[in-house]
Symmetry: C2
Subunit: 613 residues, 2 copies
């Protein structure tokens, strides 16, 4: 088997042959995906570094690998004994890989980056920057493909129809919505590369990317045609008929470049921050590019009525599974002498009891004690901690079901807690309640809402080094924008509107001691709409609300998650009367939602945990 040394040597030989002086291999697929299929893990193949983000740069005499703070330790370990040197991304004095290239290449030299994987806007920006120093950017070379001998195949799982009873709107009509927006923007074509956008638009789901119900595809919409580029092996006869009925024509996955080259004069709208340079270069000169956020990306961010009902059902069902899991963790797991890895298996079993369950929406984080202070900790069979009868256990988990997506975190005590542990838990809860109970003006942006949760922590000299929450897709990806609760004014610039979904998940992380995170999924509703829960059933309800003089529209967060918080971990004296009311109301709703579905010890557990404080 070729070594990393071999890879680098052969790459340098190919670079010399093609006349390029540097080669950049990042973490990307042609769909700007967060999670990559193995076929696209070229950076891991080349360098040996397997983290979820990073960039390799190879020149005639240097081999560099950029990794961020999450991966400094892992990268050092994996790169040891290879020609690669770690560049600590984000550390003081360490330039970004593009800056490094601009500063280290000479006038007249060339850097190669695969134009199928490099978004057009990035290519344009870097081309300008490198060009100012006489360095050229070559994007039409594939330097990895010819060298990667045991490359995994592209995934080939079947796709399935996402039924109208979940989606509430036919693909034909969604495509019509896209065409209406194209008409507004005077565009003749719309090109989509985002797997979530395409699956949503055409009402199918797939299994090409772990934890994401999507399939490798492109879509090209014109005024009277809708083309889906996908490997035919994934589409069975029934699905072909369904597509035909929606006016969707099928093309092979790799036929897009050729199709783009044949387009007649007109305007093509696409998001050049996602669409690869190679696709843009394939367009005839008479086709002008209009740069816009992808319409489906924004359209799907607001759930329709059927999707909202679906998400509510999915949220209730998964809340039941998680609550049963908490009973198991708090009452049985320690006694049974289980470790983090073994415990988490029970959660998967509980979820699989539902026929609606497809896959976990991400690998569960099952973390005991100090392990939970690492935000992205993953217990494995080989490396994990046993549970003990004290301190905290954290479970961050979610499900993709036919009717919706969830992402829930609870932190629970497994025995006696220190004063610091209880204070930190209570702070996290206060921070969660601060935002969950906050009515806000329609159009408020994520960075403003983020501050409402975070400011509660600040009063106690605490802060968490991550966002307060993220949007999530409807049976798609568990991280989906544009809405986002971030303290960065660019990432958090998007305005919130009714019917978006978002997680709220503040936390306290103390290295070497404990990590606490409390996460619910929320649906944004106008203040006059709410969800009422009664005897195991939940439904939307209207109530009378008087507008203020200016006719402002106010929104609020309605929980889709019904899982108890840990009473034993709360210091009630630190809660204000308003916070206490919120908590007691929430626990009352949890009891109403779940009690009819539980019996015996599990039911007793629920009733105890949801007792008013």
């Amino acid at each position: 088997m070729p070594t990393i040394d071999d890879n680098v040597r052969r790459l340098r030989a190919l670079m010399r042959e093609k006349g390029v002086d540097a080669c950049l291999v990042g973490t990307a697929d042609p769909h700007n995906s967060e999670y990559l299929a193995p076929y696209y893990k070229a950076r891991a193949w080349l360098s040996g570094f397997t983290g979820s983000a990073g960039t390799a740069v190879v020149t005639a005499d240097r081999a560099l690998l950029w990794a961020d703070g999450r991966y400094y330790i892992q990268a050092e370990k994996e790169l040891a004994g290879t020609p690669f040197q770690l560049m600590k991304q984000g550390a003081p004095g360490v330039p970004s890989h593009w800056t490094w290239l601009a500063e280290h290449l000479k006038d007249g030299q060339a850097v190669a980056a695969d134009g199928r994987l490099l978004p057009e806007a990035d290519a344009r920006d870097q081309e300008e920057r490198l060009g100012a120093r006489g360095i050229s950017l070559v994007t039409d070379l594939d330097l990895v493909g010819p060298l990667w001998e045991d490359r995994p195949p592209l995934p080939s799982g079947k796709i399935f129809h996402h039924d109208l009873r979940y989606t509430g709107r036919r693909a034909r009509d969604k495509i019509g919505d896209v065409r209406a927006k194209m008409a507004e923007d005077k565009a003749d074509y719309a090109l989509y590369v985002g797997l979530d956008d395409i699956a949503w638009l055409m009402n199918f789901r797939g299994s090409d990317v772990p934890n994401n119900a999507v399939a490798m595809a492109f879509a090209l919409i014109s005024r009277n045609r809708a083309l889906l580029f996908i490997d035919p092996v994934k589409v069975d006869g029934a699905m072909q008929d369904l597509f035909a009925g929606e006016g969707i024509e099928l093309r092979p996955y790799d036929a897009l470049i050729q199709e783009l080259g044949k387009l007649a004069e007109g305007v093509l709208v696409t998001n050049t921050r996602r669409t690869g340079r190679a696709l843009i270069k394939a367009l005839p000169e008479e086709v002008k590019v209009l740069d816009r956020q992808d319409y489906p990306y924004e359209l799907k961010a607001r759930l329709n009525e059927v999707e909202r009902q679906s998400q509510l059902r999915a949220g209730l069902r998964d809340s039941l599974a998680v609550t049963r899991y908490l009973y198991f963790i708090k009452r049985q797991a320690v006694k049974e002498g289980l470790n983090e890895y073994q415990a988490a298996k029970r959660l998967a079993d509980l979820r699989r009891q539902s026929e609606a369950f497809i896959i976990e929406s991400f690998p569960s984080i099952s973390a005991y004690g100090p392990n939970a202070a690492m935000m992205h900790y993953q217990a494995t069979a080989e490396k994990c901690s046993p549970l003990a009868g004290r301190s905290f256990y954290l479970i961050d988990c979610g499900a993709q079901s036919f009717d919706g997506t969830t992402d829930i975190t609870r932190t629970v005590s497994l025995g006696p807690l220190t004063e610091e542990e209880r204070r930190d838990y209570t702070m996290t809860l206060k921070s969660h309640i601060a935002l969950a109970s906050q009515p806000f003006l329609k159009g408020t942006c994520g960075v403003a809402l983020d501050a409402i949760a975070r400011s509660t922590m600040w009063r106690y000299g605490l802060d968490y080094k991550c966002g307060t929450g993220h949007g999530f897709g409807f049976v798609l990806g568990v991280h989906e924008g544009p809405q986002r609760l971030s303290n960065n004014p660019v990432a958090g610039r998007y305005a919130f509107a009714e019917h978006m979904v978002i997680t709220i998940e503040p936390g306290v992380y103390r290295e070497g001691r404990h990590g606490i995170r409390l996460e619910n999924d929320y649906l944004v509703l106008p203040v006059n709409q709410t969800i009422a829960v009664h005897e195991g059933k939940a439904d939307f309800e209207e109530k009378e609300v008087t507008l203020n003089d200016d006719g402002d529209c106010f929104l609020h967060f309605q929980s889709l998650t019904y899982v108890p918080f840990d009473r034993a971990a709360i210091l009630p004296d630190l809660l204000s009367p308003d916070e206490l009311n919120w908590l007691n109301d929430y626990h009352q709703a949890v009891r109403q939602a779940l009690a009819p579905h539980l019996s015996g010890d599990e039911r007793t557990f629920l009733l105890e945990e949801t007792e008013a404080l």
Copy 2:
């Protein structure tokens, strides 16, 4: 005297002669100023519309005037009987003036805009947009100058040295700081057009723009020269000597274009969102432009130690004047039968008692009852309301003194209040306290901090249609960035750091009823620094603060304003214990700050108003 009709007719003739099809006349000077000298009020001259913002567009058959929501009524009135038609900027379906031009001009047509007044970045953006439709942008024509016969002269007030005991740093050293940043950015020249930046950098102040202590000037810094372009009539002999001592060379105001044309090859750094296109066009081809926020704009946003001490003195002195004014308003003005306009004169008298006073930092807003609901209300001798013994009176005022700038608003009851009035006052106070008492992580941006004040209002279904606060200059302009408390993620993107100053001024505005605003000036300090006030003296103090595990740096807002809030207007039951503590501590500091400087009835008034609640 020529009429608006004449202006438009003559402009059209000149347009035909010069071969342009549209002419744009905005609200601008070559310095990107907020307030214009009369010489630059070309849009008002052309159209007759006198508001502080707006844009006129004239074509062969249309004359249009864009004005924003504040001015719809005034513009309708002023444009009546002229050829101009009002375009309601911001109203649904009304395109911006640039969009209108792009949509209404034909392929091959040309629009003229004065390149001396149009920032380069705007010119570039619009050129690209218009160019895509075959329309050209002409920026080297002066169509207004030849037609405007009774144009006012450029202002010619003397400038004065801003003494080292206020500024704390010599001009020579500040210019050195700029050169250090130029070296970092590998720039050979730095060009400044902002009047506040230039006055700060070279330690002078002027009187060319009402309420702003600035003078018309440009600055050009190279590695070994510092040129100030200013009308020589403004600079007396002593000032000339001072400039010479700081290594600053003087040039006539209108000599800049010629000087730019003579620059040797190199890189010129400037902010193309402020610097006019004409200046950029004047550069030889060998001079490359590097686009950056102006260094002085960011350098001056953080006050040095001497400036902080100065601002504290100015704040204390102006607090005394405002508090004495509140005594007069609450105890005498109604009895004396005064109106809003007459009352405000007393405030000016009180301020003039100090030798440090230069000018008001903006025209005071003196508003009784429903008038205060109009955020930019201006009482005049001809049009104003009498004060009566009920409801609220609002005073929003500020001073430019040699040692600092202030901007203070108080709303006070003149007699019995309704329940709604007291509730709205208390909400405004709660909102003010929420942010004023909030510790926050260094680097938090304005849009996040804005939400902390605003969210308090949202809980009661209220919102204010303006930012929560703004930065202000040090004896310069009363609105100065980059720091800003805005609910817009772009305007509020700037990160807060220690030693910035900011106003906090939430409000409740009920059309036809009342307007309430409570505004203090704050200095941002690390949480371990504070200002202690004792027996009429105030000074900075350190205290012990433990950092959290992550070593985060937390900041807080320290008030520079010491003026009582109106006890009679507060509903104490709506205040939380923490809010009540903040208020009582603040009133204790106000009493300590002012009592030694007051006697008789004024002193009794202060003691009553600052009694603990």
